[in-house]
């Protein structure tokens, strides 16, 4: 008789025990998938929120006083191509999203009424590609060449539809299309104008120069700033790294929050479910000792009986993993939409997790049935068949 048919018929006969085991897999799989999906959603949400807050690492020429960025316009500069050197380094992996910036005070910008204002000019270079590291979504500010983005306070002094006009270092007037009028509350840029780096360098006669790199530090074992600083200074000893810790801490805490809960809850649930399953399999084996004894008497090998029990665990593990995946994803979508404002619509089934579930849960449930299966395979047929009911 077909072994699979025998397993299925036994599964259906002992419905309650089979359903409880199936339920344990579904719970374990759904909780794991649900928490993991919410954790990913939380990371995406954090990334979105933090993008609004900006990058957390500033890289300057050594000796720069940070206050000078906001009070003076002659802070030390360094070559723009430093960024390419950093991005091309295979060992430079503690810092991502490298964005070259030239930031200066412009003390005498004349608005349309001829009034004079001190404003901030910030030139952004396109984010550097670190081709030896996995590709990531662009985080920095991208300003298209020939256009500007004006801060909220500056925008009040420019009529709708008008261009932004400014006098260059060479005394000539330069005009730029306004691609975007930024909202209030963007920090220093509220009173400034964002340029494409090349445009600002040309305007100020500072071609090939930048005075800051903004970037994102990794979450490293030996601390964000230490590792980043070590890697930067190993390549350019004349650069210094400073961290905007509030942004970094917020990012790290948010990112780790779900992982922290997941790291406790997922193993706890899985281990509990495995223990319940192991116990149920043990009970199942006890209830079936006459059947197993008979199969041995009919000439079935120890290995085939072992495989029969493991195959049952595999089938339940597989069915539970599939059901649990969709249940977990549904739960994550339901709660995710309530929790996450920005990324609510982007919570979707993680299909790579589906394939992992199909592998992990059947194997785990086979392991949980391993000891009962061994006991079953070692059943003394003579002894159990000689026992009275």
């Amino acid at each position: 008789m077909n072994a699979l048919r025998l397993i299925i018929k036994e599964l259906l006969y002992r419905k309650i025990s089979s359903l409880i085991i199936l339920f344990t897999v579904i719970i374990a799989s759904a909780v794991s998938v649900g928490i993991y999906s919410l954790s990913k959603a939380s990371e995406n949400e954090t990334r979105k929120i933090m993008r609004e807050q900006g990058l957390n690492l500033y890289i300057f020429p050594k000796g720069t006083n940070l206050i000078d960025f906001y009070s003076a316009n002659n802070t030390p500069c360094f070559p723009e191509n430093y960024i390419h050197v950093l991005a091309e380094s295979k060992t430079f992996d503690a810092v991502r999203h490298l964005t070259g910036i030239l930031q200066v005070k412009y003390p005498d910008w004349k608005d349309h009424n001829g009034s004079s204002h001190q404003i901030l000019l910030v030139g952004y270079k396109d984010e550097a590609m670190q081709r030896f590291l996995p590709e990531q979504e662009i985080m920095g500010t991208d300003v298209v060449k020939g256009t500007v983005q004006v801060g909220a306070l500056v925008a009040r002094n420019i009529p709708e539809g008008a261009q932004f006009t400014i006098t260059g270092n060479d005394g000539r007037q330069y005009s730029f299309d306004i691609a975007r009028r930024l909202g209030e509350g963007k920090g220093m840029i509220d009173q400034g104008v964002a340029f494409n780096l090349a445009d600002l360098q040309m305007l100020l006669g500072m071609e090939g120069k930048i005075n800051k790199i903004e970037a994102l530090g990794c979450v490293c074992k030996d601390g964000r700033i230490n590792n980043s600083r070590k890697q930067v200074q190993a390549i350019f000893a004349d650069l210094e790294v400073t961290e905007i810790s509030s942004i970094a801490d917020a990012r790290e805490n948010q990112r780790l929050m779900m992982n922290k809960y997941g790291a406790f809850i997922i193993p706890f649930i899985i281990i509990s479910c495995l223990l319940i399953t192991g116990f149920l399999f043990y009970q199942n084996i006890n209830a079936r000792k006459y059947e197993i004894g008979l199969l041995k008497a009919l000439g079935n090998s120890t290995g085939s009986i072992l495989m029969m029990i493991l195959a049952k665990a595999f089938i339940l593990g597989l069915a539970g993993a599939v059901t649990g995946f969709f249940a977990g994803t549904l739960v994550a979508e339901y709660f995710g939409k309530e929790i996450f404002l920005f990324t609510a619509t982007s919570i979707k089934p993680l299909w790579n997790l589906f394939w992992y579930s199909l592998l992990i849960f059947p194997v785990l449930w086979m392991l949980s049935s391993w000891i009962p299966a061994l006991i079953a395979s070692q059943t003394d047929a003579a002894k159990v068949l000689a026992e009275e009911y």
Binding site: M1, L6, R14, L295, L298, G299, S301, A386
Partner: protein, 225 residues
């Protein structure tokens, strides 16, 4: 066919030892009908299980066609049970979640065997019951199902452990006739029982007491009567 030489089996539970069989020797030839009679605890089931390859004796040898079955590899011993032996138990041991036909198919090793299923069901008055579950059968029907399972793969030897222990006189008579018919067709039977009257069809009757042979009677094979 089967030769037992100085078989001894001792069970130990804690500090207590129990000698189930002591220096048992006898031969059974192809076509013999051997009844092992003894009271409870005499060692008859242990003897049957040793012949079945399910219990290792502590000493002695058991030869099947001159080959010591306990010197064989595990796979060969499984094959010996699967292809050479058929079992009938007092408790029937039918799988409750399999139908009559499926229970019988457990012992089928090829399509030829499976092809005879409905022939046997009809022969043993079980036609139309192939799709019934054991819980729907009478005691006699269960035992006949178990008997078909034992003989469907055409084993050379039928081992029966108190096969009529749970049957009423009518069903008992039917079963004994079925075993007798298997024997008449050339099968070898080893039947253990506590009931001396069941040895009437046999040509060898062994009486066991406290693990030792008290009496070994050779008679003219019933098929030659």
């Amino acid at each position: 066919m089967i030769e037992l030489r100085d078989i001894t089996k001792i069970y130990t539970r804690g500090s207590v030892t129990f000698t189930a069989l002591k220096d048992i020797s006898f031969n059974i030839n192809k076509g013999d009908y051997c009844t092992v009679v003894g009271s409870s605890g005499a060692g008859k089931s242990t003897l049957l299980n040793i012949i079945a390859g399910l219990v290792h004796p502590d000493s002695g040898n058991i030869y099947y066609n001159r080959s010591d079955i306990y010197q064989q590899k595990a796979g060969d011993l499984n094959n010996y049970r699967r292809k050479r032996l058929g079992f009938v138990f007092q408790q029937f041991y039918l799988m409750p979640y399999l139908t009559v036909a499926e229970n019988i198919r457990l012992a089928c090793h090829n399509k030829q065997h499976a092809g005879k299923l409905y022939f046997y069901l009809e022969k043993f008055s079980l036609s139309g019951m192939g799709n019934k579950y054991p819980s729907e059968l009478s005691v006699g029907e269960k035992q006949r199902t178990a008997f078909i399972r034992a003989i469907i793969s055409e084993p050379e030897m039928l081992l029966a452990d108190e096969p009529a222990g749970n049957l009423d006189p009518g069903n008992r008579s039917v079963l004994m006739n079925l075993i007798g018919e298997y024997h008449k067709n050339g099968g070898t039977v080893i039947l253990v029982t506590h009931d001396p009257s069941m040895s009437e069809h046999s040509n060898i009757s062994i009486t066991l007491e406290k693990g030792m042979i008290q009496n070994n009677t050779m008679r003219v094979p019933s098929t030659q009567k």
